[in-house]
Subunit: 322 residues, 2 copies
């Protein structure tokens, strides 16, 4: 989505900070273009990996395609492809692993949007899967996407070394399961959610969105046969980035209108869920996001200039407008 002049004013960080440090204006434009290019490749990859919507089961495949080919930033696969790039991993491998991660992300959105969960009618400006199809199809499409992700990771085309494939499988399952994304969503819809303070909301974010973002970077490291030190550096980068991403999301939710987000704005406040903005205030949240970006960037020191795109990505996640 191209941001118009009015959207440009909605950035979540002070304009004065832009371009002042590593990842300035040029790098920001560059990472946006790169991200768009990878997003197109991921959509293309998903289109090839998902079966054609034919035959009597066609409806569920059609819904899986609807749920996953509908654009989006593709941040997680971008992190996988870019992290893999640090280790000269052939691009096709990063794209396959990234597409698997995106399937998991898309499945989580489909299930989260269901009437029994967040009951959302719109996603990226278009009807959610259960609105476009029906609840049963949406449940099955989510199930299908989650399952297909593991078929992609188990396939020798993703990496010729089975140890890499098995490690990707284990890592994705742990990030997406009850100790990660699924557990986070459980907390997010629980009655206890409204009583969470800053620590609780931070823990929730680490599970619900952080675990998959961390694994997005980790997948690149696994594909590249990274050392323990390199993995630890990327993990730390991803943890800072993931939290910054969530804070920026809360800022966007508080500040933006529905048009810019492609979904109803202010949803979290309506549901009485404490956000980072409520807990820290607008300025406090902005400050915390900025600190996290600087911290994330510092974590990349061992990789030198090779990690400049990841640095620019960290800036991007808090400066984005949707």
């Amino acid at each position: 989505m191209t941001a118009g002049p009015s959207a440009a004013n909605r950035s979540t960080l002070n304009k004065a900070d832009k371009g002042a440090t590593i990842g300035g204006t040029a790098a920001r434009e560059d990472v946006t273009a790169r991200m768009r290019a990878v997003a197109e490749q991921i959509t293309d990859q998903l289109d090839r990996l998902l079966p054609p919507a034919e035959g009597p089961r066609g409806r569920v495949v059609e819904a899986m395609r609807y749920a996953s080919l509908n654009g989006g930033k593709r941040l997680r696969p971008f992190l996988t492809v870019t992290s893999a790039g640090l280790f000269d991993v052939p691009e096709a491998r990063g794209l396959r692993a990234g597409a698997a991660l995106e399937m998991v992300h898309c499945y989580s959105l489909v299930h989260d949007d269901l009437p029994a969960m967040d009951d959302s009618d719109l996603r990226r400006g278009t009807p959610t899967v259960h609105k476009r199809y029906d609840d049963a199809t949406a449940i099955l499409a989510g199930d299908g996407l989650l399952t297909e992700a593991f078929a992609v990771l188990g396939d020798p085309a993703t990496h010729p070394d089975a140890r890499v494939r098995a490690e990707l499988t284990l890592g994705l399952a742990r990030a997406a399961g009850a100790a990660g994304m699924v557990g986070g969503q459980m907390v997010d819809i629980s009655p206890e959610r409204v009583h969470l303070g800053l620590d609780g909301v931070t823990d929730l974010q680490a599970m619900k969105t952080g675990a998959l973002i961390r694994f997005a970077c980790r997948a690149g490291a696994i594909l590249g046969g990274a050392s323990e030190a390199e993995r630890a550096a990327l993990d730390a980068y991803a943890d800072d980035l993931g939290l910054a991403f969530q804070i920026a999301d809360d800022l966007l939710d508080a500040e933006s209108d529905a048009e810019a987000l492609g979904k109803p704005a202010g949803q979290d406040a309506e549901a009485d869920k404490a956000t980072f903005v409520e807990l820290l205030g607008i300025e406090g949240a902005r400050g915390r996001a900025r600190e996290l970006v600087e911290s994330a960037i510092a974590r990349l020191e061992p990789f030198g200039e090779r990690a400049d795109t990841l640095r620019a990505t960290a800036r991007f996640v808090v400066e984005r407008e949707s």
Copy 2:
């Protein structure tokens, strides 16, 4: 569940046939006892593999446990453990892979029971997950079980050779995904379902229940490093067994009462879904199930006496009373 004298009359095959061929009375009692023993081991394994229901995400883990520790025949893991036994696979490996398969089976029951799908209140005589908890928790518990299955398969504890782990992952994902179980459930709840004839219902069964039963045997072959010929023999056995199992299910559904099944009987007829019993008649369905059992048994010829338990299992699936 122990069958009382009255339940014994509900067997789906003519009593006169029992014990007349390979897998007679002695073998039948033996396989029932073995199945019960493996079922206990699987429940034990699931208990150890699933995380404790603690902390803020405890509710989803509790629901995952409720959905999977609630007994059941554990046919799929039994097939995995027994097939693995043909190749002298250490028991612990078969049990882990079998537990992963059972997680997938249990997740499918949780999601199929949801109001948006089959809307079932009872399963194995107890409230379904969404009745005991709520719809959102049931959706997440299913997602969690599906995800956890792949964590088990990706874990080196399941098999030290990563090629085996990756092959198990790929096979389970294909069996459970849109080309298998998920696709079959889509067809089963589609408006076209009521127009299906014998071929259509057979294809539906092959996807919805057959694919996972086939993979249950295939998993044993993968764990055991079976030859292509051995894999093909087990695949053919499993396909016959899976279809016989479904026909027996339809016979039980038509003949049994709710008490014996632990779920409302006659559900399929109410929903206007053509079953094998409607398409073939009671006697026709019994005859077809018997043919399939004989065929399944014949497929095991290459394994000689070592496959006697699998032979007795084939008899069991059509002679069971629930």
